[in-house]
Symmetry: C2
């Protein structure tokens, strides 16, 4: 049974959680623009409708806020490509959809992925980031593997490399494209598309 106090408590918890999400969304926005090292709590607060003190009401400290943001980022980031897998029924279609998806992500969400690479680098120095970053990295690896496995299946072949290696190479491709795209290179996105198709075709045995 639920008492009246329980219901009140539940509602407050929900509201509390919702405000945390709201603040984290704003923080994520600011972080993606300025980078982890250059973003202060005051600056994050200034891009919300609240004061900097509010951040400490909803998060115990800066690390907890950042980690909450990163986990929120993960949720959005990973699921995006699953539609591509289920919508394709030929290897060519899948390769095309995947290559185009990468290019779109690189163009539309450049700042967010810039932040991701920033945070992943920071996790090499900041012990407290490491487990969350590793978890996101693993889910990205699984996402890439779903593409590769499906591509192999549609081609009637078997993948020739491990999941870890597939992720490493596609990630390297994307990261380099992001670097060049943000530096203003016009060819970055086309090269990303071509590279992704090429890599995908080489990752299954003929």
């Amino acid at each position: 049974m639920t008492t009246a106090a329980d219901r009140v408590s539940k509602r407050q918890v929900d509201k509390f959680e919702q405000r945390r999400r709201e603040l984290a969304a704003g923080a994520l926005q600011t972080l993606s623009e300025r980078g982890y090292a250059r973003t202060s709590l005051r600056e994050i607060a200034q891009n919300t409708e609240f004061s900097h003190g509010t951040l400490h009401y909803y998060f115990t400290d800066k690390v907890e806020l950042i980690m909450y943001c990163v986990r929120q980022y993960k949720a959005v980031c990973v699921q995006r490509y699953d539609a591509i897998v289920s919508d394709s029924d030929t290897p060519e279609g899948l390769a095309e959809g995947f290559a185009e998806g990468l290019a779109i992500t690189c163009r539309e969400d450049a700042l967010m992925h810039r932040l991701w690479y920033d945070l992943r680098s920071q996790s090499l120095f900041e012990e407290s980031f490491r487990s969350d970053v590793a978890e996101i990295d693993e889910s990205l690896e699984r996402m890439v593997w779903r593409i590769v496995a499906r591509y192999a299946e549609l081609s009637g072949e078997e993948p020739t490399c491990s999941s870890a290696m597939a992720y490493a190479t596609f990630d390297g491709l994307f990261q380099q494209a992001l670097l060049r795209h943000l530096a203003g290179s016009e060819l970055a996105l086309d090269d990303l598309r071509a590279g992704a198709r090429h890599l995908l075709s080489h990752v299954v045995c003929a």
Copy 2:
């Protein structure tokens, strides 16, 4: 003709440059341990035999010091693999040497490459870093391409992908190995060796 004053001036310039290199080497050490964002000029100075004021005698500001360090890093970093190219006369030997070279670098110079990925991420936010970082990236790309081209030559084949793509994938492989190695994974180096051999064999046409 060189006057006495010229000779004095020359000697002083040399000494000045040498001390800059000395300070930069110490700074590079500290940076690789703590990361760009967490390293202050005072901390750099504490790991040398000089005071923090000295840094501003030899470098106009923090950015100039960091950039000087990065360029110094580049010089050491790039030339390392050229011996592998010239020492190998079979494709298998080259692949073996390259894979082993990557694994050794990942183990021995893990902290320095952690710093490299940190600075490369920072360059996406800090405009002033960008050109130097891009220059290093390009020289690394050329270094990888020398390996790939030589491997293709020894195999009597032609490379099947662009220089940019070869670099992107090998870099992704190395970065992922570094991440896992620094996280304590025992398999990271073996996977790196296997991945490098695999990738190399797939980057030339059969």
